[in-house]
């Protein structure tokens, strides 16, 4: 029993020691002369070896011993930590981790064989020093080591008199391990040494201190404490609510104090859950190093803000997505060294991780200075994979275009490597991050690099929420996703309007799709329509939509509790909570609601276009030229100008009707087919007929010259050419229509000419056999 406890304690300690070891070893590769680093690594091996000997784990001991010997040689300066040697040491760490895992799972060391590794390690330190010390540098380091060894005792003597007695051991250790480093210089520099040494001593002396000030507490206990405090907060809220009705209560004073203490307690307990984000980054230097060696890239990983704290639970959830994104940045983002040099960059690529707090969020940025995302490539890929049509992509800003890489199955990597490129990763990353209420933004500049910005809440346990009422029921909507509240009435400034079966709201010249909570949740619709409703403008990722409710009651800090297993299948809720008055309230999951909205839109097999954000995008989005036309009595139509070759008008008498009812007109020496833009349009009776001319390429071979054909689109009249930032507010189910938006205050449908023409050409004898593509003509 006691032995088991010893072993489990040893496992925890060893795991902790090993967690930092990878990073130290990778760091050593960059600073091979850093004696302190070597000393630290050596000590870790030594400690594990010692304890494993004590616990009778002989196999583990022998692996550690071999590693320790190699490090010992390094410490003496007779072995230079070259990348090959570092790799072997890392392999040794992996082996130790493997054995520890086996012990944890089975209770004994298992049968894993590490003889080859041990032999490799032994070969390292048994090899004559000269082999490893071939460089002149190494020799001089050795000379310096010898030189430094001499004044050593003097230094420590001086130290002994100057420093408090308990600190003496540290400088001694320093002198022993220091030789190859620059931190102890020949005696000429001695006068300034004490101050520098004392700094080192302080760090050394600090080591035992934390053990006095921290204790190890089980996560279960902390979680239990958290739950209890959450209950306390709820009870406090209930009491406060009861007291609200009483004007002069003797309980007021004590309750006020109880309230404050509860808040303090809650804050402290929340703090115990906070961990530096660096914990999630620990594995990254090793991953990047191995990746660099495998791919033959030179990669520098910079990590800023590792001390930024966030909730343990959130930390666990973003660990994998982060690792994946850093891997992606190194694998896909960074180019090979020769390509980089040719592009005028340094051969070493740089991946930077940055974390900082912003409001109630933590922001994590992953930046690389690699090749950047290629909008043209993404465009092509989006069309090829059927995620969007060309017309949809025409007005799309780069920021929205980049979001395609977060879609399932979307990978622009030409080759699938062992690490990434299968197109399954980024959508999982997005899903995981959105699940915890976070969002990803992508900025990229071709050949300059990419920045992924992740914004996530600090904690999931207690969140501020809006308590809303709908058909007599109450629901909580987390405030993180709420953008603004809009009051809508029949006569007021904002009205709820209908398009086909869906409702929308005009909000600052944009159409906002709406989800009525009453309908979506199947609530009692018999409750009289009061005419005035509230719309909660909600943001999920880069999506905006409105949730229609009857009223907003309050804002409250709610404790999120998971829903019962019986209700897990309901995607509309992310949890439930107990309100201040003791009643239970479901927490609406905007993500889940949106997936219902998405299902409606994608029913026709189309992917919804991402709505742009209200404030930022208007400036960043490139404006686009649109031709406004009238077609029949329906909504005004718009066609992107850059798809149109020419605007023409023909004398109606020149247009001929063919045997099967098609309209033909002589144009540039051949016959051009005229196609009505919508079924409502027909040839005008007399006068001149406006026509939009498109160039259709039959595309048999890339350079086949004679195959360019013109096709005309009949419209009633051409109204105007305007410059507009194309945002599609409502995606249409109709294949000819890309979507609808507001232009100059008037609802306008943007139509997809390619689709209309393609359909009308089917059956046209000369060109029907070959696939048609609309080619853009530069203006």
């Amino acid at each position: 029993m006691a032995m088991d406890e010893c072993i489990s304690e040893f496992l925890v300690e060893a795991a902790e020691a090993l967690a930092g070891l990878d990073n130290d070893i990778v760091k050593l590769e960059g600073e091979p002369e850093n004696a302190q680093l070597i000393g630290g690594i050596f000590r870790t091996f030594h400690t594990i070896k010692g304890t494993s000997g004590f616990l009778g784990l002989s196999h583990l001991g022998s692996v550690c011993h071999a590693g320790e010997n190699a490090l010992g040689k390094m410490r003496e300066g007779s072995l230079h930590p070259s990348p090959q040697i570092i790799s072997v040491i890392l392999k040794c760490v992996d082996a130790i981790k493997g054995i520890l895992t086996t012990i944890e799972a089975t209770g004994d060391e298992g049968t894993l064989q590490h003889e080859a590794l041990i032999a490799e390690l032994n070969a390292l330190h048994e090899r004559p020093a000269a082999v490893e010390m071939m460089s002149a540098d190494g020799d001089s380091a050795m000379l310096q080591a010898l030189f430094d060894a001499t004044p050593g005792p003097d230094l420590s003597d001086r130290k002994r008199s100057a420093a408090p007695s308990e600190e003496v051991r540290a400088p001694l250790a320093l002198v022993q391990t220091a030789p190859p480093s620059e931190s102890v210089k020949p005696s000429a520099a001695a006068p300034i040494e004490p101050s520098r040494d004392s700094a080192v001593v302080k760090e050394g002396g600090k080591e035992p201190v934390p053990t006095n000030h921290t204790i190890r507490v089980g996560i279960d206990l902390l979680e239990g404490l958290m739950t209890t405090v959450s209950e306390l907060v709820l009870s406090r809220n209930q009491l406060l609510q009861l007291l609200r009705g009483e004007t002069e209560s003797p309980f007021a004073g004590p309750l006020q104090r109880l309230s404050m203490i509860t808040s303090e307690l809650q804050e402290s307990v929340m703090k115990t859950r906070m961990q530096p984000i660096g914990n999630a980054w620990q594995a990254l230097p090793r991953i990047i190093r191995d990746l660099g060696r495998e791919l033959g890239k030179k990669i520098e990983l910079v990590m800023d803000g590792a001390e930024t704290e966030l909730d343990r639970q959130v930390l666990e959830l973003i660990k994998d997505p982060l690792t994946h994104m850093v891997r992606n940045a190194a694998d896909h983002g960074l180019e090979m060294p020769d390509v980089r040099v040719a592009a005028g960059k340094s051969a070493t690529g740089r991946v930077q991780l940055r974390a900082f707090h912003e409001g109630g969020h933590i922001v994590i940025q992953i930046t690389d200075d690699g090749r950047g995302l290629d909008p043209a490539k993404i465009r092509r890929k989006a069309v090829d994979t059927g995620l969007a049509t060309e017309a949809e992509l025409v007005g799309m800003s780069d920021a929205n275009l980049f979001r395609f890489i977060l879609r399932p199955g979307f990978s622009t990597a030409a080759a699938v490597t062992a690490i990434s490129g299968r197109g399954v990763g980024m959508d999982v990353v997005r899903t995981n991050i959105e699940r915890i209420g976070g969002a990803i933004d992508i900025e990229s500049q071709l050949n300059h690099g990419t920045v992924f910005t992740i914004k996530i809440p600090l904690t999931l346990a207690i969140v501020p929420a809006l308590i809303v009422g709908c058909a007599g029921e109450r629901f909580a909507i987390p405030q993180i996703s709420v953008v603004e509240l809009v009051r809508a009435s029949r006569s007021g400034e904002h009205r709820i309007e209908r398009i086909c079966d869906s409702t929308v709201l005009r909000l600052r010249d944009r159409l906002l799709p709406l989800i009525d909570l009453r309908i979506t949740l199947g609530l009692d619709s018999a409750v009289a329509d009061e005419g005035e409703r509230l719309i909660i403008v909600t943001q999920v990722g880069s999506w905006f939509f409105g949730i229609v409710v009857d009223r907003v009651h309050d804002t409250e800090e709610i404790v999120v509790k998971p829903v019962s297993p019986l209700l897990k299948s309901l995607t509309a809720y992310s949890g439930n909570t107990i309100l201040g008055d003791g009643s239970i309230c479901m927490i609406i999951d905007p993500n889940g609601l949106m997936s219902q909205l998405g299902r409606i839109e994608t029913a026709a097999g189309r992917q919804p276009i991402e709505a742009a954000s209200v404030d930022q995008e208007q400036e960043t989005e490139a404006s686009q030229q649109l031709v406004l036309v009238k077609c029949g009595s329906g909504l005004r139509k718009a066609i992107p100008l850059d798809q149109i070759a020419r605007l023409e008008d023909f004398e109606v008498s020149n247009v001929r009707r063919s045997e099967d009812g098609r309209l033909l007109v002589p144009y540039r020496g051949s016959l051009m087919l005229l196609v009505p833009a919508t079924p409502a349009v027909d040839l005008q009776e007399s006068g001149r007929q406006p026509v939009l001319v498109f160039t259709a390429n039959s595309g048999v071979a890339d350079n086949a010259p004679a195959q360019t054909r013109h096709v005309g689109l009949l419209v009633d009249s051409i109204v105007d050419i305007i410059s507009h930032t194309t945002r599609i507010d409502i995606v249409s189910d109709h294949p000819d229509v890309t979507g609808a938006t507001i232009i100059d205050g008037e609802p306008t449908e943007i139509i997809d000419p390619a689709n209309i023409i393609r359909r009308d050409l089917v059956g046209w004898p000369t060109i029907s056999e070959v696939p048609m593509t609309i080619e853009r003509i530069a203006a």
Partner: protein, 157 residues
């Protein structure tokens, strides 16, 4: 943990739904509550009447009538709640009445007769013969299993 004299006897909490007495072993009963404020959960399976707050814990309320293929309880706020715990989660069974706590000898338990309606039969493990009535023993695991079913048709099947 069984006491010597309880080796062949167990304690049953009895209750009633639609005049039919049935019982649950006392080990699985956490609490018995009177009229409770039950919050509805829109979109939930029909057998879930809502959730209630039991000293800061959220309890999922199951309408036993619906589980047994009957019309749902009309006024859930006035019904009795028998709270049970299953895999760390609390559930409450909405019943008409809660009766006595009986000590039952094992030899007094018999198998459920073939003629009992399938809805009852599927959730009972036996029958206790009392002097003036017969009490069905309900298996809470089975009840919870069928509570997850989403439609009334599935429940009836």
């Amino acid at each position: 943990m069984s006491e010597p004299n309880a080796a062949s006897a167990q304690t049953l909490v009895t209750m009633q739904v639609a005049e039919q007495p049935f019982g649950i072993w006392v080990e699985s009963v956490r609490d018995v509550l009177g009229g409770q404020n039950i919050s509805r959960v829109p979109l939930s399976p029909p057998a879930i009447a809502g959730s209630l707050n039991l000293r800061g814990r959220i309890v999922t309320v199951l309408d036993v009538r619906v589980l047994l293929g009957m019309q749902g309880t009309e006024q859930p706020e006035k019904a009795m709640n028998v709270v049970i715990e299953h895999q760390g989660e609390l559930y409450s069974l909405l019943v008409d009445q809660v009766g006595d706590v009986l000590t039952v000898d094992h030899h007094k338990i018999e198998g459920v007769p073939q003629t009992v309606t399938p809805a009852w039969k599927s959730v009972s493990s036996g029958i206790v013969k009392l002097k003036d009535e017969l009490v069905l023993i309900l298996v809470t695991e089975t009840l919870l299993q069928i509570a997850g079913l989403t439609t009334a048709e599935e429940l009836a099947a």
